[in-house]
């Protein structure tokens, strides 16, 4: 995000116009502002929370409304808007945004629903402990969703796509201590994350075929993509991404579990916005990827999911789970609409996306209000709430009837268009299965409303939370408006179709096959309503019979398998024996060092080369030889002496002799440092062994022989490796530093210090960080000990 503000500030300053090639500066800036507002809100949310429990909700509402209005006004005033900012030009990746009919439609859903949900959350979350992170993640999600919709570059789209996955994960797992919550979050992350990987691969393959990450170029290269050898893998990866994100069989299992999140999250991410990302992708890439294979793969999965979700929704008894399965089913309908790849199908899909966001959002808000008011969430224990919660009842009735597809509500129009599209497809099974799916929807939608609000009163005395009912009521009214005045949005939807195509359903124009299909599905629905309890019991028996072959089972087996394998591997490799670790380490390092020596034909080995010290055998050479021999003696003593104190003193002696060796090898800086460091190390060692109870080191005779053998092997191995490298060492790198320009460029004559502070400054920074960290680690180590 800082990137956006950087660019925004440059735009404001009217700095180099080349940044925004060929477009009016102000217009692009507005699009950036619309995208930034949710992120800005997310950053500020934790601070706003201190001002009062409801403040972040209201500010979020403001941010959502502002983004919504900016998009709308921008579209009205300018039409299509593009922003092209260089981002990673070397890789051909741009920060590109596109405002067009398709992105406007989805963008309005994302910001409008978001605004409403924030208004709802102000009351709903006011008494929740997790409200702080809730608003942060919700704002993050809103921005990510908007970015995903507006993105004009494959990589940018992918990044926002992953950001929505991440924020969904964080929101599902809000209750960190609860296993149900964390398990559900993990499931959602693994499954949608799998989709994310598939999407990235699909995008990379697409870009390799088209030769660009630019979305417009990719979208215009349909023939090229379908004809290429990569088409089938691209399509399959793409379908996996869509299925996982939009909760389609067999990846749908994460969505019902995700209902552990607070109701606003379910209403926004898991019905209105995030799960629509897959649908958005279908709508966006339809022109590129469509072929016979597209229909063959997507249509059965979509319609199958629609029916499966409908059956599960009837079986479920938890309010939010009913709605979750209903969402899965409706997403199946949406996927099928786009799978048909006809103008009517696309139009139906886009209109139903909007309708579904409105009605399912309303139903979730109703469910939230009921749970909030009664504290109960089992539909069998609730009933007759119409007098206690009249506003909620009206909202629920409108939304449920829209979902059931009853005229004159919005859902009726899009469902009719869908039926007509399946009829047109010429496949016999598509309309039949479509009717069955519609019947199931009719049944559970009516049951949801009638069971909660009609009939005899069940559940305790309740007071209607008005602040929760009003947003639901707004959505309910919107469902009605969309049914009566579809012209409000069909113009926009037609704009998102192929040029010249028009999609204009109306209550007044009836298509005969679709009307018959509607009647049939309503009849089926009524039949199911009549024997609802029996149907549920039957479905539960079937589910019990099938419990060994569900996708959930496969998921559980996979996760359990990975964890088991990880545990076995940890037990096998990390058995707690330090001696075994060190043996493995020595052997591995030895093999890594010695292996490269084998194929070197005629390479100088052990005896071949003679390394001599510089110059004639001077006094310095002799001194060096003596120092080195003494150093070895001290090292041996440090390794074998029985008394800890003696061993430590020998180690110190070795260090001081090394300092002398440094001196004799023309390294005064090193010698000085070595002496000082050795002094400090000696003191630390002495302090520690003084404080330890055991002063003598026990001999371990059993192991002596094998350890000695290992040491001997290392002696020979290191000699074999080091000897040729010392002889053939090329010092041309060093000469660079000794060149005459050094002083002029760096202003120093001590070459060693110049290298440390200048040429290798970054390394040095890393190195001082390491020592600071070591100190901090030691600090914590001892502090923890004192407390414990």
């Amino acid at each position: 995000m800082p990137l956006i503000y950087l660019y925004a500030s440059r735009l404001l300053l009217r700095a180099p116009n080349s940044l925004v090639d060929g477009m009016a500066v102000d217009v692009g800036l507005w699009l950036l502002i619309a995208l930034s507002l949710p992120f800005l809100f997310a950053i500020l949310a934790p601070i706003l929370g201190r001002l009062g429990p409801r403040v972040p909700g209201w500010v979020g509402l403001g941010a959502g409304v502002a983004s919504f209005l900016i998009l709308l006004v921008l579209w009205g005033a300018e039409g299509e808007v593009r922003v092209d900012l260089p981002w990673i030009p070397s890789a051909g990746i741009a920060f590109a945004l596109r405002l067009n009919p398709l992105s406007l439609l989805f963008g309005l859903i994302a910001t409008g629903m978001g605004a409403l949900i924030f208004g709802y959350s102000a009351s709903y979350m006011a008494r929740e402990r997790v409200a702080g992170p809730f608003y942060l993640y919700m704002g993050l999600f809103m921005g990510a969703m908007l970015g995903l919709i507006l993105a004009g570059d494959l990589i940018l789209l992918f990044l926002f796509w992953e950001l929505t996955t991440l924020s969904s994960f964080l929101l599902i797992g809000l209750e960190k201590g609860e296993k149900r919550s964390t398990d559900a979050a993990l499931k959602a992350l693994l499954l949608t994350g799998l989709g994310g990987i598939a999407l990235l691969l699909a995008f990379l393959a697409l870009a390799s075929v088209v030769g660009s990450f630019d979305l417009e170029l990719v979208l215009g290269a349909g023939d090229q993509v379908v004809a290429s050898g990569l088409y089938v893998p691209i399509l399959l990866l793409f379908v996996v991404a869509v299925l996982a994100k939009s909760a389609q069989f067999p990846f749908h299992i994460w969505l019902p579990d995700a209902m552990v999140a607070p109701t606003p999250v379910s209403a926004y991410l898991h019905s209105a916005a995030m799960v629509k990302a897959g649908i958005f992708l279908l709508a966006l890439f339809l022109p590129v990827l469509v072929s016979d294979l597209w229909i063959l793969v997507l249509l059965p999965l979509g319609i199958g999911t629609m029916i499966l979700g409908g059956l599960q929704a009837i079986r479920a008894t938890d309010l939010k789970r009913i709605l979750a399965y209903s969402t899965i089913s409706q997403l199946g309908l949406l996927a099928s609409s786009f799978a048909l790849a006809t103008v009517l199908g696309q139009g139906a899909g886009l209109l139903h996306t909007l309708n579904h966001a409105v009605m399912k959002g309303a139903l979730f808000l109703v469910a939230g209000a009921v749970i909030y008011a009664t504290g109960m969430n089992d539909i069998r224990e609730l009933g007759g709430l119409r007098r206690a919660m009249p506003l909620t009842a009206i909202a629920c009735g409108l939304a449920a009837l829209s979902l059931a597809g009853v005229p004159p509500l919005g859902g009726f129009l899009s469902k009719e268009a869908f039926f007509e599209a399946t009829w047109e497809s010429g496949l016999l099974w598509a309309p039949i299965l479509g009717v069955i799916g519609g019947g199931l929807t009719f049944a559970y939608a009516w049951n949801f409303f009638s069971r909660l609000f009609l009939g005899p009163r069940r559940g305790g005395v309740v007071v209607e939370p008005k602040a929760l009912a009003i947003p639901a009521l707004i959505l309910g009214a919107l469902a009605l408006t969309l049914g009566i005045f579809p012209g409000l949005v069909t113009g926009l939807i037609s704009g998102a179709l192929s040029p010249g195509e028009v999609f204009a359903p109306s209550l007044l124009q009836w298509n005969v096959p679709a009307a018959i299909m509607s009647l049939l599905s309503a009849f089926l629905g009524l039949l199911l309503i009549w024997r609802y309890a029996d149907t549920r019991a039957l479905l539960q028996r079937i589910a019990r019979g099938l419990r060994r072959v569900t996708p959930n089972r496969a998921y559980g087996a996979f996760v359990g398998g990975v964890q088991g394998a990880g545990q076995r591997m940890a037990l096998a490799t990390q058995n707690g024996s330090l001696r075994r670790y060190s043996l493995v380490l020595f052997i591995a390092v030895g093999a890594a060092l010695l292996l490269p020596l084998i194929p070197l034909q005629g390479a100088p080995l052990l005896i071949d080369t003679v390394v001599t010290l510089p110059g004639p055998a001077s006094l310095r050479t002799v001194a060096l030889a003596i120092v080195l021999v003494a150093m070895i003696v001290f090292a041996v003593l440090a390794a074998v002496l029985r008394t800890t104190l003696h061993a430590v003193l020998s180690l110190s002696g070795m260090g001081f002799l090394l300092a002398m060796a440094f001196m004799l090898l023309n390294a005064p800086d090193l010698a000085m440092t070595q002496v000082l460091v050795e002094l400090v190390l000696l003191v630390i060692f002495l302090i520690v062994i003084y404080k330890l109870p055991l002063r003598a080191i026990k001999p371990s005779p059993r192991r002596r022989a094998s350890d000695l053998l290992l040491a001997l092997g290392i002696l020979i191995g290191i000699t074999a490796v080091v000897n040729p490298s010392l002889a053939t060492f090329d010092s041309s790198v060093a000469e660079f530093y000794l060149g005459p320009d050094l002083v002029n460029e760096t202003g120093g004559t001590n070459v060693v210090n110049v290298i440390i502070t200048d040429f290798r400054g970054f390394d040095t920074l890393g190195e001082i960080s390491v020592i600071a960290l070591a100190a901090l680690a030691l600090y914590t180590l001892f502090r923890r000990r004192r407390r414990g």
């Binding site: 003191v683 440390i756 100190a775």
Partner: protein
């Protein structure tokens, strides 16, 4: 019971050591020395203090949070690493200013010396945190 001689010698060593390490630090660019050596020098002088006077004495006399010094050093190093950016130069470029001072004449200031000061503080802070912790220093660290 610290003998007077040890006390005098150590105190002298400490101040001379610190003075010497500062001269090492500042001279490091042109003659033996630099941040690492100077840091080791100061740290070993302090360590000597611990050995001769004991923990309590040092901790009452020098109420310094050494790990903060280490962090300060890192911050200074990062600052001088980034400083050339402000002048439109690549990271870590040497900035060299030549200024005229009264009495001293021409003095060359090199930004790498600032980086060296960061190294110095980081090393001193880290080593002394380690020493104090090993010695079981309680309140500070």
């Amino acid at each position: 019971m610290v003998s007077v001689v040890a006390r005098v010698v150590t105190t002298t060593v400490l101040y001379v050591g610190i003075l010497f390490s500062i001269s090492l630090l500042l001279a490091g660019h042109n003659s033996p020395g630099g941040g690492f050596i100077a840091g080791a020098m100061t740290a070993s002088a302090f360590t000597l203090l611990y050995v001769v006077f004991g923990r309590e004495y040092v901790e009452t006399r020098f109420r310094i949070r050494f790990r903060s010094i280490s962090a300060l050093g890192l911050a200074i190093a990062v600052f001088f690493l980034l400083l050339p950016l402000a002048f439109g130069l690549p990271l870590l470029s040497s900035l060299i200013w030549t200024i005229q001072l009264p009495l001293l004449g021409e003095v060359k200031l090199v930004s790498a010396v600032g980086f060296d000061v960061g190294i110095y503080l980081a090393v001193v802070g880290a080593i002394l945190t380690i020493v104090r912790r090993s010695a079981g220093g309680e309140s500070l660290g």
